[in-house]
């Protein structure tokens, strides 16, 4: 699952940019990947396309506050997908 999330992040930010970066569960979207907020929105939409409607990013974010979204790590998204597709 981490591999799928990694591949989708690569589509969005560009494989070239990721060359020097390892994406692991504790990789931060903000500090490590330096993703723009709009890229994070696109990540959510592509995950829904890939996994189906049970992966509902907007609903996932609805329960979080802004700081939690900004500080989010890749692992949090992977865990959410595991839960949502169980």
């Amino acid at each position: 699952m981490l591999e799928v999330v990694r591949a989708i992040i690569a589509q969005i930010v560009g494989e070239e940019y990721l060359l020097d970066l390892q994406i692991a569960m504790d990789t931060s979207f903000e500090d490590d990947l330096e993703m723009e907020s709009i890229e994070f929105v696109k990540l959510g939409a592509r995950l829904t396309e890939h996994y189906g409607g049970n992966v509902d990013f907007a609903a996932f974010l609805a329960d979080l506050d802004l700081d939690q979204i900004i500080e989010m790590r890749v692992g949090t998204v992977v865990d959410y997908i595991v839960d949502a597709t169980a």
Binding site: I38, K42, G44, F60
Partner: protein, 266 residues
Amino acid sequence: MSEIVANGVRLHVQHLNPVPASARAKPPVVFLHGLGMDNMASFYYTVAGAVAKTGAEAVLYDLRGHGDSERPRTGYTMEDSIADLGGLLDALDITVPVHLIGNSYGGTIALDFAVEYPHRVAGIVLIEAHFNVEGWAEQIAAERERVALVVAEMGEENLQAWIRRFGRKVVRMMDALSDLANHTSFYPDLTKARPIERDRLRALTCPIRAVYGERSDVPDYEKQLHDLLPHATLTVVPEVGHSVLMDATPQVREIVVDWLASQCAV
């Protein structure tokens, strides 16, 4: 479906809980973000998820020149903004009236759209909205002038060097903003905004909910609301300013969700 061509421009759209036109019973909720650095993420991160969780159909899009939408060289007048919105609703086959939730300039678009197409708007939530009345274009021009002075003082090269000390995210945001501000008709178009006649705003009958920060920098908003939209219900959120959506997210979220629920109950 996240890219839609509307009014000849490719727009980045997120359509939550889409409903087929034939089965659409409730007004869809359309989110309109602000100008410049803003894009749909400010609503996606804050209010849209909570609205979608109630089961409501919700549409978020990046205005032209913003976020992941196309950044054409021209077409940034208010007339273009409302034509884009109308074109998007047409493209999504939304013919019923919608609720418009607008932040800052997004609220200005909501009001202009409602004045032009009252039959397409069921209700409006204004968050820190500006009013496109006489004097507004001059305020934008003055703001543009202030920014230009700061840039001139710093020197374009120094500014670029300073921006490049930051990471990928800031560089990308600033490059996009710089292209929009300096290489499109964005500012010239905004500063020639044709004000709406006050009586046309006063004639709006749809329900309006307004949210402003106690330290808002929108000039005279209370006076304008009182004069132009006396039936609007206003909440002033203490201790925050123009970025009330980001700085007081839980309150704004609750106000929007409760207001939408009250509209459905009518």
